[in-house]
Point group: C2
Chain length 117, copies 2
Amino acid sequence: MRIGDLARESGVTTRQLRYYEEQDLLHPIRSSNNYREYAEESVQQVQQIRGLLDAGLPTRLIRLLLPCVQGPAAELPPQPNSEMAGLLRTELENLQARIEFLSHSKNEIECYLKRVV
Amino acid sequence: MRIGDLARESGVTTRQLRYYEEQDLLHPIRSSNNYREYAEESVQQVQQIRGLLDAGLPTRLIRLLLPCVQGPAAELPPQPNSEMAGLLRTELENLQARIEFLSHSKNEIECYLKRVV
DNA sequence: TTTGACGTTGACGTTAAGGTCAAGCTCATA
DNA sequence: TATGAGCTTGACCTTAACGTCAACGTCAAA
């Protein structure tokens, strides 16, 4: 599929898709006319990226995480050395903190809404 | 307490504190020499703000949420009209989506780490 | 063969959340 | 009184994640 198709199917702009490629998050091949050519799975990948971005993670981290979060069937990244494993563990703790904070805030907003209704 | 004290106790810079005030998230009073004067609770408030910012919420939303998430003892915002309640409900759904996405990503990173170790 | 939709790169603009620096108060202390 | 630490505002700078626009290539359909 071409960039316009992927944009429609995944609900982002073509500009975003080019930006994600620039950030090394997507790697379409080029057809003979130099158009980007995406695989079907790209739709899922883009949604994965969007989710992580919406969750507040920078592309720098998403680049690290993508090979890991593409499901248990995904290939392992080339060299999961201890440096990268450390980074991931740190990021895991941050994720946990974010999750707890968001849950807490959500609870309080819910309480508030119950009070004012 | 003054701005430097609050910065130290809450772990942010004075620039951030001034920025949060500019964004209408903090409202210190001024002492006779025009210095900002903060209450003790400001420490908690700043940490609340940091948590929400780290979670990816913009100050625009935090401004809305702050009166709600300051705990059940907090005063109700002036006019919790239906427009604002609607905004909050929408934001609640977004929060839930973020939480689920983060949890999902976290699980996958954990799976990954178990595989490579 | 020309039009129109779609693609390409490149460059500049924008917004949020601050960093940084300057020039000038305030105030306790040497 | 002067010195230094901390405070004030104002101004400009920075970064990420795009939006937008220009100028040009590609290709199926009229």
